[in-house]
């Protein structure tokens, strides 16, 4: 066990983690500038998880959240277990070979999103009674008013909002890693996990982007259904 954790960390990992945290926060702010309806605040975490392993990913996620909390938005602080689980799960998926082509990366993003939704639910319910300071709480509030139980309302909200964000995150992280020179990747603990199978096909990428667009439309449709009646 300890050995398995240790093999996630070499000197390059330790140097990458602070930079990945910086990337998480800086990209999160670029997204705010562009006013896109996603967070994309865990790209660095997913990159560390894929290149170095689940434990390094979990550490990056947790630290990134804590530092985001103390430096930018104190409300982010209690959510560090979610960020840690995102890193851990992304690392596990990469270990199982799901970080090698576009469709597999979409699957990784989806699994990460489900994990994030499940981990964030107890925090939202116990700490905030279901209503957090985030914008998506409007959906939760509406579901609560329609008579749904608190757990199902919070879980449905996360299932609606998380997948698009996490799949996009995983795809951007994949694109970045594929753009790095082989020599750089070779210095990290798990370079074999991110080796693309049969090249990175353009068509595959378009299909993957298509999947995300369909998901966005689906979420928007569900949202209209929920809020409309």
């Amino acid at each position: 066990m300890l050995e398995k954790i240790k093999n996630n960390f070499n000197t390059q990992t330790w140097v990458l983690i602070p930079i990945a945290i910086g990337i998480n926060i800086a990209v999160g702010q670029i997204v705010l500038v562009l006013k896109l309806p996603v967070f994309l605040d865990s790209i660095g975490t997913v990159m560390v998880a894929a290149l170095c392993g689940p434990w390094a990913g979990a550490l990056t996620g947790a630290l990134s959240n804590v530092i985001w909390g103390i430096a930018i938005d104190p409300g982010a602080l209690p959510w560090w277990p979610v960020a840690a689980m995102i890193g851990y799960m992304a690392g596990r998926m990469a270990q199982w070979g799901f970080f090698k082509s576009w469709w597999k990366v979409v699957v990784t993003g989806f699994v990460v999103a489900l994990t994030a939704a499940i981990v964030s639910t107890p925090i939202a319910v116990y700490l905030f009674g279901g209503i957090t300071a985030s914008g998506s709480s409007f959906i939760t509030a509406y579901l609560l008013q329609t008579g749904q139980g608190i757990w199902s309302a919070v879980v449905s909200t996360s299932f609606l909002t998380e997948p698009v964000d996490k799949i996009t995150t995983a795809m951007i992280a994949f694109a970045i890693i594929q753009g790095l020179p082989k020599r750089t990747i070779g210095g990290y603990p798990k370079p074999e996990q991110v080796e693309a199978e049969g090249g990175t096909n353009k068509n595959q990428m378009y299909i993957a982007i298509g999947v995300v667009v369909v998901l966005v439309l689906f979420a928007a449709f569900m949202l209209r259904n929920i809020l409309g009646g």
Partner: protein
């Protein structure tokens, strides 16, 4: 631009001179008691009897109240409004707003939650203001925290302002070349790539250089390292820590016993 992200204010006070670990335990105690002690008015009372006196004792009351009013209070206030409106508990409706009811119970609930968050963030702020990050890290390393953790925390605090400055530069540069960051959704989504790409690749190129540099300074060496600064840990600090831990246990036990 700050050279390093740090909130530390150098003063000579009772709180500043405490051992960093004691201050960390104190912070955690305040947060855990605010969240677990079963009495309704606990977080409110903590602000009066702990947070404010501690900021006076640490001679940072003025700076602390500015931060509290400008940053912490708005965040807690927003949470209060969200919860007061959206929490569907209770039946004693005070007023209605479309489909939302504000009840006495939801107001009470929201008030306590907002105060809990206020205590949490204030305690952390006080801790950061009175403790220098490198002091905390060298003390924890001396107590057995792996040196790599200290490296990650300290260098994140150093790198973060640089990366944020870099991203501002990239946004400005790409805008001046005519990049569209304001029009339709698809245009804005498309602008993500020319902004994120240079930022990420530019930052990642430094990794290898830095790795070699710290490797050359014995980063992974197993030898015990000596420290330039000695951080005092008097017996008063040790005693205080045990008292605080006892308070945490008491609060959690009461919470479990009464629920």
């Amino acid at each position: 631009m700050h050279e390093r992200l740090s909130f530390h204010i150098k003063r000579d006070s009772f709180i500043h001179n405490l051992n960093p670990l004691t201050k960390l335990v104190l912070t955690l105690t305040l947060i855990l008691i605010a969240f677990t002690f079963p009495w309704y008015w606990t977080p409110h009372l903590l602000v009066l009897v702990a947070i404010i006196p501690l900021s006076l004792l640490g001679k940072v009351f003025r700076e602390f109240s500015v931060t509290a009013l400008r940053l912490i209070l708005p965040a807690a206030g927003f949470l209060f409004l969200m919860q007061a409106f959206f929490q569907p508990v209770g039946s004693d409706v005070i007023f209605k707003f479309y489909f939302l009811d504000v009840t006495q119970e939801s107001l009470m609930f929201a008030f306590r939650n907002a105060m809990r968050v206020f205590v949490m963030v204030s305690a952390f702020t006080l801790f950061l203001v009175t403790t220098h990050p490198s002091e905390l890290m060298s003390d924890l390393t001396r107590r057995g925290l792996p040196g790599q953790f200290s490296y990650v925390i300290i260098s994140t605090l150093q790198i973060l302002p640089q990366i944020i400055a870099k991203s501002q530069t990239i946004i400005a540069a790409q805008r001046s070349r005519g990049l569209d960051t304001e029009s339709s959704f698809f245009k804005r989504a498309g602008s993500l790539i020319p902004l994120v790409g240079p930022l990420v690749f530019g930052s990642l190129m430094e990794v290898e250089e830095r790795a070699i540099a710290i490797e050359a300074r014995g980063f992974t060496s197993k030898q015990t390292k000596t420290s330039l600064h000695e951080i005092p840990d008097p017996s008063f600090d040790q005693m205080l820590r045990w008292v605080l831990v006892a308070l945490i246990i008491l609060s959690i036990a009461l919470n479990l016993w009464l629920s």
